[in-house]
Amino acid sequence: MRKALTVLMTGVLAAALLAIAGSGGAAPDPNAPAAIRFMWWGADQRAKVTTAAVRAFEAANPGVAVQVEPTTFDGYFDKLATQFAANDAPDVIQLTPDKVLEFAGRGALLDLASIDTSKIDPRLVQIVKTERGQAGIPAGIGSHVMVANPRLFVEAGVPMPDDTTWTWADYRRIAQEITRRTGKEGVFGSQAFGISSNGLSVWLSQQGKTLWTKDGQIGYEAPDSTGYFQLLKDMSAEGGLPTPELITEELSAPLEQSGIATGRYALAYADTSQFSSLVKAAGEDLELLRFPSRTGKAADAKMEVRSSMYWIVPARTEHEAAAKKLVNYLVNSPEAGKLLLGDRGVPTNSAVRDAVRAQLDPASAESVAFIEEISPEARDFVPRAPVGGGNLEEILKRQTSDVLFGRATPAEAAQRLIDESRAATRR
């Protein structure tokens, strides 16, 4: 017993010291294929299709080996920032557009201008172009839309609105009527719209304003968003929207528990990339709608077509050529498209889109059709957030719940939204 313990102790000590001393690991073999690392966030389904696409890429490019690093969304950006701090970031990374600009603004990203983007909507590409070059390549198209549940409209005896002509007043009336006429516990006309900057962005665009200006300033004034908070408060009070408690609770609710997925809300806000999952979770038919407008004209709804994920390559990568090759393959190759399908949204490359159309499930096909329908009338791209602007979501959520719980008047919340956004982007 004693001897065993002594041996164990010595062994453990030696192992610890050796491990500390023997740092580094083997030197890289110059003849080995370029080994690049590729990281994204998402659930396991995404990991499967993406890994399949990577294997196809390796088969087509014998000189490159790819290590896949699927990561959970929880902690993704923490992990990424830590890796950048240690100069240990993967070579190809999936990132949100706001973060792309934030990272690019600090000089951390490689210029990807040499990647072919000729078949991609130029607006999607332009938006992450900085003075340092092309910071990212769009990975999939989506649009912030309204989703309707036809069954609840029928139950309430309210006709489905024509989304090319409806106004905010129509929306307010319809939501209230549905809540009143269905009269069921927990059933509401519409989900709240104050909870993401996408909704605010639409609201501002319809008044000819933007969240941010090109030079990174705030693109609107307090009165421009007062009406937004006012409508939210009024609709919640009169029943068209859920109660303040339910609204805040859903700020962090998973998709499956949202009111539209559980058949409790007749209208909701979503991204087209979520549509397929929503239909599956709801287990019934759902419809895609344009936003209401101020004038009753579809073009004035100022729908936005955008990419919610971009591929980026860190400036300090040691495998620039191989990394770019992989990005190019993911975006421009029909083979990759056939494996990835609609996982990150509608394929950005129009040729790839045509190649995979036949393989899409009905809900994804509907998203593609909807995107193609609104693309001509979609608004010009608004400038993206400056450094620090990524905090807008949190700031907005705070103001929304303050308004709902009567801690701030709509005018106060609108002012604070500006003040806090300014403070967050000052540095």
Binding site: I20, E102, G107, T243, E245, E249, L251, S252, E394, S401
Partner: protein, 299 residues
């Protein structure tokens, strides 16, 4: 013992001590002190992690003084510590006292009461908690039976912190175990003597259990206070990392984490960490001093 012997023994101890302490010391210097020193340095810099740090002197300290969200997070954290810790310890002690008498199924109860603590920071916690405290959750279902419309406990800024404190109280397993252990140490004869003197259960608790247990209460108190100042996981999971609604569950460490990793402002976050370390150290020191007046020592 002769003086020469003592010094000889001491000399030999020095060598042996350094050998025994070697792994700990290497860990302290390399894994703890090194990173600590770096974070101290970073707290005087502007550091985004994407670019090298920039020395900014006392700017971060100045920000600490004027950052209103930070002051709010201190209020939240102090409320949590001052309410949550005594509450959890009281529950743990009460359950331990009830479970202490030799009764059947003790191991079973002990295990069941410990179960929630095992769940820790599981992903499922957020969903489970919503099943109970959501506006359509169990608590409100029960309240509805008696005709009360309960608030959305988690989503109403007035009650959100309370529900997280409750979540904390719910995981009273570890201090309960430590209390149980302490209760076992109190000699049965004290109770017998007191019963003979005609003391009731309440008096026995106040006159014997509390003083005899005070060192253990103190131990639990110290560790729980340190742990609660650093509370992070529960608030992070329940609020989805936002500290919402309206910053009502914005714990200090949660804000630190948001500033550091969310806003890529690691210099400021480091300054925050050192402020927290200072606060905890002061609290612990005050506790040690105060313990002289209420912790009972047998000898």
């Amino acid at each position: 013992m002769a003086r020469t012997t003592t010094s000889r023994v001491r000399k030999r101890d020095d060598r042996a001590a350094y050998v025994f302490l070697l792994p700990w010391f290497v860990g302290l210097v390399v894994i703890t002190i090194g990173p600590m020193a770096m974070s101290l340095y970073l707290s005087f810099t502007d550091y985004s992690m994407l670019a090298p740090p920039n020395w900014v002197g006392l700017d971060n300290v100045e920000r600490l003084l004027t950052d209103e969200r930070l002051h709010n997070s201190l209020r939240v954290t102090f409320t949590y510590v001052l309410v949550g810790v005594p509450l959890q310890l009281a529950v743990a002690l009460a359950v331990a006292v009830v479970l202490n008498r030799g009764m059947r199924g003790l191991a079973f109860y002990r295990s069941v009461f410990y179960l929630p603590s095992l769940l820790g920071g599981s992903v499922a916690i957020a969903v489970l908690w919503k099943q109970i405290f959501g506006s359509t959750g169990l608590v409100n279902d029960v309240l509805a039976l008696v005709g009360i419309a309960g608030p959305g406990w988690i989503s109403d800024p007035r009650t959100a912190l309370s529900s997280i404190i409750l979540l904390h109280v719910w995981t009273f397993g570890a201090p309960m175990i430590i209390f149980l252990a302490g209760l076992r140490q109190i000699p049965e004869m004290y109770y017998e003597a007191a019963t003979v003197d005609g003391a009731g259960p309440l008096q026995r608790f106040r006159r014997i259990t509390l003083p005899m247990l005070s060192p253990i209460i103190f131990f639990n108190l110290i560790l729980q206070i340190i742990g609660s100042f650093q509370a992070f996981t529960q608030a992070f999971i329940v609020s989805g990392g936002s500290g919402g609604p309206s910053d009502s569950t914005m714990f200090f460490t949660l804000l630190l984490y948001q500033r550091g990793f969310g806003e890529l402002d690691m210099g400021y976050a480091s300054a925050m960490a050192w402020l927290l370390l200072l606060i905890i150290t002061i609290f612990t020191a005050v506790n040690f001093i105060a313990s002289r007046y209420w912790v009972f020592h047998e000898s």
